[in-house]
Symmetry: C2
Subunit: 319 residues, 2 copies
Amino acid sequence: MARQVDVADLVDRARRQEPRAVARLISLVEDASPQLREVAAALAPLTGRAQVVGLTGPPGVGKSTTTSALVSALRAAGKRVGVLAVDPSSPFSGGALLGDRIRMQDHATDPGVFIRSMATRGHLGGLSWATPQALRVLDAAGFDVVLIETVGVGQSEVDVVGLADTTLVLLAPGMGDGIQAAKAGILEIADVFVVNKADRDGADTTARELKYMISLGRREIRGASWRQPIVKTVASRGEGVDEVITAIDHHRDWTRAHGEWHDRRAARARTEIEAIAVAAVRTRLGDLHGGDAIDALAKRVMTGDLDPYTAADALVDGI
Amino acid sequence: MARQVDVADLVDRARRQEPRAVARLISLVEDASPQLREVAAALAPLTGRAQVVGLTGPPGVGKSTTTSALVSALRAAGKRVGVLAVDPSSPFSGGALLGDRIRMQDHATDPGVFIRSMATRGHLGGLSWATPQALRVLDAAGFDVVLIETVGVGQSEVDVVGLADTTLVLLAPGMGDGIQAAKAGILEIADVFVVNKADRDGADTTARELKYMISLGRREIRGASWRQPIVKTVASRGEGVDEVITAIDHHRDWTRAHGEWHDRRAARARTEIEAIAVAAVRTRLGDLHGGDAIDALAKRVMTGDLDPYTAADALVDGI
């Protein structure tokens, strides 16, 4: 039997900025520990205060560098900052991410910063289930801002961005065609555009193209319209980073004034509840998976005696 | 109300190699048409015959070129060939895939070839749900071989490879570090390795590194061991492609002799049933999503009055 954890004590220590307590709580939710529900119940009354910022964009635009620069700037303003870096679980992902993460080690010894890589490994729904719980831990532990950095590839990463109050989309010069091809998706999820590596050729062109796209795709929310700002940065030198933080805060103020802040948080809570409910049902199906019922159904599907929909109906009826 | 489709007639025409009938059937399963179950029931008795080959690998190794070359070789051998090209739905995917697909148009006028792009767009589980159904359509329509090509990034693509009787993993010279970093994942899913672009520098090194990795990670199945072959190709000139087909057929014969062919197909049927069951439950939750119950729960989660697990319990109890 696994050792019982004193959850109340762990939460207290996390709130007193003990990184190991924070890490332990995240592990408890990530690994779906038997004490998960106890942890969730202890965290709930302490949540809702953290400002959640999503950060995404195609590979090579400098997401980790920008995250690191944002952390430095927020720390300088006295904020406690949590970072959830969402890694894809591709067997082909290579070592690039690891190298990027090393830059974040500037903050490794700062108790006001907590950094955690969230693996998307595991089954479908794993990511959308574990990341919000880790976010709850950081929120409850008293981090003022939580940055969620994703690699910007795939639906699950886009889902994670759905956790954010404000989403930054990073681009870099020389990606013009890519921007055109992807414009619908980018316009949908970006609240603030950051053109990083702005000291390179083509930064003005990229910003101009973005501006044109924004003019075509302006979002209307409750009759008012948030004008997505474009901020140019050279994150490796910290240039433009304060302007990014100003843009994030403007967006927060705007969404609060227009009811969107509340709507997003309500949508997030609905999605979170639904994801947990689906995972719970999946676990029950998985329990059947080991049993004879599904084996018998699978055999009939294999031989063409039964179609998989009729088999699934039988399985759901069996829960 | 949507027009009713004569499913039996459509299946007949698909089996007489009418591409439009095949396309219509796939659309019916992909769009979760009201007639989906009728289609599934009509297809079931006709399935189980197609040889299913998965093809994956990192970007830039020449997956589409290799797929196209395999199609040509299989056609020369008198086989009907279906291709399911699984695209990621990333908002940042850019235009590269489109360009790759154009090469496949060599086969566009051949009624013995059917090519379909499967978007992974949509919600979690969309891919693992739609692709096996499209595979069933091609199988029932009498295609001898179905190639499933994925971009090799992310868990959902790996899941799709799980549909295959035989999985090819493509690599190209000059990716040494990537191979090392990714070796565990690659070794797990590959039945046959293809080193494409073998006319380039470093092909021998890549093959040698692979060979060494294979020697470390040999898979044991029922006491016997399938030795993953490494085939070198220059797919753009058709070189080595016949050897790939020979390797695929060897693997099929081996898995049949050792019971693994049956085990894989049984596992595939179980996974397919489970995916449909989860989707069905998700739909029921989604119906609640629009209702007051989940809104009330979400509000309590937002205010910290309730944790999301307790809320999810209440939701599941409500189904």
